[in-house]
């Protein structure tokens, strides 16, 4: 079938890996769009921050990672979870606060985690993740696994002392750590062009003696390439890298955000820059994947997300018996 197509392999991305990268991005998109719709019905409790529009970052970075590697995420963490292999149905159930959720309903959207997959959790504290990733990278270095740690954080967190301390520590200890600054233009409603006192977040890398790279965050292949270089260097003992991924989030800071602080940039991004559209166009034009293969993935993801919502809604909520468990290993 597709074996007969001419297939230039890009950066180790063969047909299977391209299809899976697309599947990750499409899963994130459909997951987030569905959560957006379901949140509007009032059935999802709490605060939800959606990653739609930013898929190429999580997918492009995590395509290089395996079981040796750990990531830390943000309040906008669903995409990172999906890209690191957290079970999608368990994620949806967690967002609904059900016992079948990734965290048995005790964490919610901002705390989805699967440590067995090296996913250290979405994180409700802006700048909470980078110090933790210094630790996972240190563990990988001492255990000589060849593993790396990746801290995803936003433009808001780029101004947190924890992030700057972590960048310095990672350089001082020469850690296999990658810092991915996802600059979606706004920390809540505050523009990064105002809050970041530099032209680019990546410019700050020079101050820590590490490479700093700026990437078009709507381009999966650009992210994949930059991350691949940084991760390979880290695995070989070459130390940390700061990658700034620039893009736009398609939804508000949180669900319910009226977004009066920004104009029609989302419409333009959706129409002209969208990472999924560009990925499709490129792999089809170059003959790497067939349109039908991509459509097949879309259909499978649609079913998965539908089932995830149906099963989440049907799953039981935790009860009084669960209230005081899981605080300590022993007490």
């Amino acid at each position: 079938m597709t074996d007969t197509l001419p297939r230039p392999v890009e950066g180790g991305l063969d047909e299977n890996r391209l299809r899976e990268a697309y599947r990750v991005m499409r899963t994130i998109r459909m997951f987030e769009e569905r959560v957006h719709d379901e949140f509007a019905t009032g059935e999802i409790p709490g605060f939800v921050h959606l990653y739609a529009g930013e898929e190429a970052s999580a997918a492009g970075v995590c395509a290089h990672l395996d079981q040796r590697d750990a990531i830390a995420s943000t309040h906008r963490g669903h995409g990172h979870c999906i890209a690191k292999g957290v079970d999608v149905k368990a994620m949806m159930a967690e967002i609904y606060g059900r016992t079948t959720g990734s965290c048995h309903g005790k964490g919610g959207s901002m705390h989805i985690a699967d440590l067995s997959k090296g996913m250290l959790g979405a994180n409700g504290i802006v700048g909470g993740g980078p110090p933790l990733i210094c630790g996972t990278a240190l563990a990988a270095k001492l255990q000589q696994t060849g593993g790396v740690g990746v801290a995803f954080f936003g433009d808001g967190a780029s101004n947190q002392g924890t992030t700057l301390e972590a960048l310095n520590l990672a350089a001082v200890w020469n850690l296999p750590a990658i810092f991915v600054a996802e600059n979606n233009g706004y920390a809540e409603a505050t523009s990064s062009t105002w809050s970041v006192a530099a032209d680019n977040i990546a410019d700050r890398a020079a101050g820590f003696g590490m490479p700093g790279v700026i990437v078009d965050g709507f381009d999966f292949f650009a992210v994949y390439e930059a991350a691949g270089e940084a991760i390979a260097r880290a695995r070989e003992g070459g130390g940390p890298t700061l990658i700034e991924v620039k893009f736009t989030r398609y939804f508000g800071h949180f669900e319910g955000d009226q977004q009066s602080y920004r104009a029609d940039e989302v419409a333009n991004a959706r129409a002209n820059l969208d990472c999924l559209s560009r990925f499709r166009a490129r792999v089809v034009e170059t003959g790497q994947l067939r349109q039908s293969t991509l459509d097949q993935v879309d259909a499978e993801v649609t079913t998965l997300v539908d089932d995830a919502v149906t099963e989440a809604k049907a799953a039981p909520k935790p009860t009084r018996a669960d209230l005081e468990t899981d605080v300590y290993v022993s007490y």
């Binding site: 750990a70 964490g107 985690a113 909470g128 990733i133 210094c134 001492l142 740690g149 001082v172």
Partner: protein
């Protein structure tokens, strides 16, 4: 075999024995190796108080100096703990919790619950607390009550060299995040400590002295101060039962309540400031659970509701001393109902 060593040496020995036993144990903090990247590295002085001295050369690669970046390295210790290591991070002064508290109470303390019981974070944060060295308001506080308040943390306040060694070994072996609070005025205190490794379980108070008249519960360095008071009181015919909880979280409520039910009188001695501290916590426990046994109002001997003063004349007034404990015990002993 037991021999007499200092509190400092007891902590150092616990670290060394656990590092020997378990290769996943690592140590990190400001000057923990001592002078990384300079000629000081050879000397490896082991920190301002020399607690980690000798470990750097004995355990190559496992004793890490850090920049003065408490959020980064405390967070790194926590992150490493989720990936198979057992890090012991040193927060030089407990007062510095202010610059890294998020990593401790929002990250480490909450992982297990927030992630549905699937996280294990065996990190120890050793930290130095307490007044008495004229170190003034930002280097002298007894902040263990703040940690005790946080579900998910265990809090250890060792009262002697023997306690320090056994409780630190338990802290390192424990699978939950532990805040280990060493009193800075005790490092030169000496006492009998077994050479062999031993672990003292958490949540099991030590009855330092048996007595039937008044129960005194004291925390950390206050245990030795209360013991001195108890000796004086014995001379005037009042038998104090002195309890060292060892850990404020978990707290051995059974031992405290059993004693209060027997004596009917309680004095709690806590070097912390008086609002929402361990003394108020234990007093509330006794008032609620042993109300029927109480024959006198509960007394609390604590620091005043002020920052720690610098001038020696003031700091000496600030720290609870044996005389105040004697007075409090006599006060509750004099009640009858």
């Amino acid at each position: 075999m037991a021999r007499t060593i200092s509190y400092r040496e007891a902590v150092n020995e616990a670290l060394a024995q656990e590092m020997d036993r378990d290769p996943s144990v690592i140590v990190m903090g400001e000057d923990n190796a001592g002078g990384a990247g300079s000629p000081g590295e050879e000397d490896a002085w082991g920190g301002v108080l020399g607690v980690t001295k000798g470990l750097y050369h004995r355990f190559p690669g496992r004793v890490l100096d850090t920049p003065i970046s408490e959020s980064a390295f405390v967070g790194a210790a926590i992150g490493a703990a989720t990936r198979g290591m057992r890090p012991v991070a040193e927060l030089m002064f407990i007062d510095f919790m202010g610059v890294c508290f998020d990593q401790i109470f929002n990250q480490a303390a909450k992982f297990r619950y927030m992630f549905g019981g699937k996280a294990v974070t065996p990190v120890v944060i050793r930290t130095m607390y307490g007044a008495g060295l004229r170190a003034a308001a930002q280097h002298s506080q007894a902040l263990y009550p703040l940690f005790t308040h946080i579900p998910g943390l265990k809090v250890v306040v060792p009262s002697s060299p023997y306690e320090a060694k056994g409780l630190l070994i338990q802290s390192i072996r424990d699978d939950d995040p532990v805040i280990f609070c060493e009193h800075k005025a005790m490092y030169d205190t000496t006492g009998e400590v077994p050479e062999d490794s031993y672990a003292i379980p958490f949540g099991e108070a030590n009855v330092v002295r048996d007595g039937g008249d008044v129960t005194v519960v004291a925390i950390g360095r206050m245990v030795s101060v209360a013991a001195q008071a108890a000796s004086e009181l014995a001379a005037s015919g009042i038998d104090v039962e002195l309890i060292d909880p060892r850990t404020t979280s978990p707290l051995d409520t059974d031992t405290i309540l059993e004693s209060v039910e027997n004596t009917g009188r309680l004095v709690v001695v806590d070097e912390a400031t008086p609002r929402c501290n361990v003394a108020t916590d234990i007093s509330a426990l006794a008032a609620k659970e042993a109300f029927g046994s109480l024959r006198a109002p509960i007394e609390m001997v604590t620091a005043p509701h002020t920052p720690v003063p610098f001038a020696d004349s003031l700091e000496d007034l600030y720290i609870p001393d044996a005389q105040r404990i004697v007075n409090a015990v006599k006060s509750v002993a004099g009640w009858s109902r």
